[in-house]
Amino acid sequence: MRVGIISDVHSNLPALGAVLRDMGRVEELWCLGDIVGYGPYPNQVVELLRQAECHAIPGNHDLGCLGRVPLDDFRDEAQFACQWTREVLTEENRGYLDGLPLTITRGDFTLVHGTPQEPVWEYMAYPATAKLAFHYFASRYCLVGHTHVPLVFLEQGQAGAESIIPTAAAPVPLTQTRAIVNPGSVGQPRDGNPAASYAIYDDAAGHLEFRRAPYDVAQIQGEMAAQRFPARLIKRLAYGW
């Protein structure tokens, strides 16, 4: 079985389209939250994921757009995007997002947005966080998003966790060693590379492929400008942050 693993789409339809084309045929699609927020295509992105029967969880921006976490918890430009998204989301798509569970378990994988101990806000960026996190999920592997940076943490007993920077050139084998995996962000990568980031799990091969899919950044920037989004939100898509 091949599974497409995406996260942090952030209402970026051109980036999601590029990823789905690049991904090819998969049996399942999993999404690790922050489906909306920041970008100008929330309804189109939600509807595409619904059509794909995506197994999804919400992130902090989805919850902010739904009014389930206070907008004061976001910086100004994110607040703008959440408020804008609230106003344009259809009732049907709002209901879809509102019905998503905070965590999902699919086979050997637990899916959360932040960390298994704090699924909404905490960032899984360093081995110290990963070392603690291994105590908070029962499955062999955990998939996280939220940082927008592709990374893998392998459990290392008393030593805690070893971190791996994945690349497209070398799939990461999944073995008996427990692992926490971040596929990076589709709609707003934050590692200095503006190309959409995602992963494919191939259970026959026993590995994860990490991929980058370039997309038409200028097209979404034009739409954001037309909708009068803050300039910084628009510009940064070209920088990869």
Binding site: Y123, I165, P166, W241
Partner: protein, 63 residues
């Protein structure tokens, strides 16, 4: 496999989260050095000072 220290690939994320990241135009407008080289003490001022001058506010914790 990428053999860089993880901290290297988190540089952009950490600067974004701290609210200190500047794009090329902002750096040029403010005539400051690249982000990693700006002094955080002494007479050059801190990133927060730079961002205040730019009217961009200070970090709200990367959210």
């Amino acid at each position: 496999m990428d053999t860089r220290p993880v901290a290297d690939v988190l540089t952009v994320f950490n600067q974004w989260r701290a609210g200190t990241i500047l794009d090329a135009e902002e750096r040029q407008a403010l005539r400051v050095q690249p982000a990693s080289r700006v002094s955080t003490s002494g007479t050059e001022g801190t990133f927060a000072d730079v961002l205040r001058q730019a009217g961009d506010g200070v970090s709200q914790g990367g959210r």
